[in-house]
């Protein structure tokens, strides 16, 4: 399964060797024929044809960008005006976006062709897409396995060549974990580097929109198209840091001590460390005493923010409404009937950790711990280019394997959550495959706004893996 990169396709389009319509038709035909359940919806032929016409016009007028004519998929939590956006929830099954997300506006301006929206765990809560109200997405490498999540539909769509690139959103690993499971590149950009105007909020101190692509170069091209400050998102900032490569990589000491890491992943990771050393890198084990505590902090902070953010889904302003009479019953019955089980669990958990008597013991403690972890990372990243870990402790697991055990599902976020907690950027790059053919990924966590460093490191991994 080797599909062309953005640069390769752009060359063909520019040279006139391929028409935009041919390119888009090829991807849309594959998307329509696919039985992976990667897409919630492929947009109408008329809709896609209009976008193709715009792209062709841009080539004709000489205003084409590198993304012009590229078939791109949206995650089902990013607003595209006039189109249904459901968060893969029953709650918003019939909700039509009334405006474009800023990232969508930027892609439209670049002449990209948005071909559909991809399946995800409900409101981005999950690591497998099994929490989608519309069925699980299958992993293209083994259809009995999950694609990861929450951006599992986007990962599967890219990996199976159903689009050239896709948007994901990452709150605790939702871009990087499915990227690793499906053998593609996924970037969690620095918190604040991408506008979230038009993204359905999950954990507002954690959420970032990012690219999911075939190659590191594609991730770089795609990311550079939609990053930047936005007046509609007060948390967005324009910053770009260029730091010369020190060729020094850190890895957290005792990373594998807790167990639970697949032996093949460990071996693959250790091989990667050796290969980096042959490229002149120093790889040091360093003390990050609270690295593993990130997960506990995350599963306090995230549900707390979820319980607050999802309060807006009350049956009054968006989506559907239960037929109950009293206002309390309308709220309760709408939310009870239309939220899936994981969403309800997290709302209750968030309500608990924010409630009187528990606030200090859970929420405030997690906020304080967050500052400690953040400082540990900042100190390490002054001396090192990046912190290296495997992206996930295991390769893609079986459909149904963890769905009834939330805690074991949460443990698959072990290596991805710390970057969200500290608001640093991180990239997952495919690093090999298991004996049974399932992809592995390695992850670099970089200094804030130093995405360029991550792209440089990622390209090196692509050469030596």
């Amino acid at each position: 399964m080797e599909y062309p990169t953005i640069e390769q396709l752009h060359k063909k389009l520019t040279a006139g060797e391929m028409a935009v319509t041919t390119l888009v038709d090829e991807y849309v035909a594959r998307a329509k024929a696919s039985d992976l359940n990667a897409f919630r919806e492929i947009f109408s032929d008329v809709d896609i044809a209009a976008q193709v016409a715009t792209a062709q016009m841009m080539f004709k007028e000489g205003t084409a960008t590198i993304l012009t004519g590229m078939p791109i998929a949206l995650k089902d939590n990013i607003l595209f005006a006039g189109h249904i956006v459901s968060g893969s929830s029953k709650m918003l099954e019939h909700y039509t976006a009334s405006y474009d997300a800023t990232v969508v506006e930027k892609l439209k301006a670049a002449g990209a062709v948005l071909i559909g929206r991809t399946n995800m765990d409900e409101f981005a809560m999950g690591s497998s897409t099994e929490n989608s109200a519309y069925g699980v997405t299958k992993n293209p490498h083994d259809t009995s396995k999950v694609p990861g999540g929450s951006s599992g539909g986007s990962a599967a769509a890219v990996a199976a060549g159903l689009c050239v690139a896709a948007f994901g959103s990452d709150t605790g690993g939702s871009i990087r974990q499915p990227a690793a499971f499906c053998g593609i590149v996924g970037l969690l950009p620095t918190y604040g580097s991408v506008s979230r105007h038009g993204l359905m909020a999950l954990g507002s101190s954690l959420d970032v929109i990012g690219p999911m692509t075939h190659s590191v170069a594609d991730a770089e091209i795609f990311y550079n198209t939609f990053k930047g400050a936005d007046k509609y998102d007060g948390t967005s900032v324009a910053q770009n840091v260029t730091i010369p490569l020190k060729k020094k990589i850190a890895m957290p000491k005792n990373m594998f001590a807790a167990g639970g890491v697949d032996p093949e992943i460990k071996k693959n990771f250790e091989d990667m460390v050796e290969k980096l050393k042959t490229q002149g890198f120093t790889v040091d084990e360093i003390d990050l005493p609270h690295f593993a505590d990130s997960l506990a902090a995350y599963y306090i902070l995230m549900p707390a923010e979820v319980s607050s953010n999802l309060a807006r889904l009350d049956g009054i302003r968006y989506g559907d409404r239960a037929k109950s009479i009293s206002i309390h019953d309308v709220y309760g019955d709408t939310r009870g009937a239309l939220f899936g089980i994981e969403t309800r669990r997290r709302i209750l958990l968030g309500t608990y950790v924010l409630s009187h008597g528990y606030y200090d013991a859970y929420y405030n403690k997690a906020v304080a711990l967050r500052s400690i972890i953040r400082k540990e990372f900042e100190t390490a990243l002054e001396q090192y280019d990046a912190i290296l870990t495997p992206t996930t402790p295991t390769p893609a697991f079986g459909i149904g394997e963890k769905v009834h055990d939330p805690v074991s599902m949460y443990l698959s976020d072990l290596f991805t959550v710390p970057a969200n907690i500290t608001q640093h950027p991180a990239i997952s790059i495919p690093s090999g495959k298991s004996t049974s053919g399932l992809p592995f990924g390695v992850q670099f966590i970089g200094a804030r706004f130093a995405e360029d460093t991550l792209f440089s490191l990622g390209k090196i991994v692509e050469d030596i893996r």
């Binding site: 909700y95 039509t96 009334s98 405006y99 007046k231 007060g234 948390t235 900032v237 609270h290 505590d293 506990a296 599963y299 306090i300 309060a311 009350d314 049956g315 009054i316 302003r317 968006y318 989506g319 559907d320 409404r321 109950s324 009479i325 009293s326 206002i327 309390h328 019953d329 309308v330 709220y331 309760g332 019955d333 939310r335 009870g336 009937a337 939220f339 089980i341 309800r344 669990r345 709302i347 209750l348 958990l349 309500t351 608990y352 409630s355 013991a361 859970y362 929420y363 405030n364 403690k365 906020v367 304080a368 711990l369 500052s371 400690i372 953040r374 939330p406 805690v407 949460y410 608001q423």
Partner: protein
């Protein structure tokens, strides 16, 4: 401080969260939430030193208070499940 959440406690949280939980689900969801709390309870043993809960590393973002045209309000109202004549219809609030 791990606690076993009883069905009554789940009911209380559900009321606070405006989330109807069916009777049949109270026990399983109580067990799930208890397990998750047991898992995050490792945070209780973390030594925080003098670190307090603070939004460090962030500064407020200000902008000029200028009116910009945005999505027409009617479009937003039409996203509501029940609406009539450009008003959102809500259940009776005051008995």
């Amino acid at each position: 401080m791990s606690t076993n959440l009883s069905s009554d406690e789940i009911k209380r949280l559900a009321l606070l969260a405006r989330l109807t939980v069916p009777e049949a689900e109270l026990e399983t969801i109580g067990k799930d939430v208890t397990n998750i709390l047991g898992f995050v309870d490792t945070i209780q043993s973390v030594q925080l030193g003098d670190q307090v809960a603070t939004a460090d590393g962030h500064t407020n973002v200000f902008r000029e208070d200028i009116v910009h045209p945005i999505t027409p309000a009617y479009d937003l109202i039409e996203a509501a499940p029940l609406h009539q004549d450009h008003f959102v219809k809500v259940p009776k609030v005051i008995e």
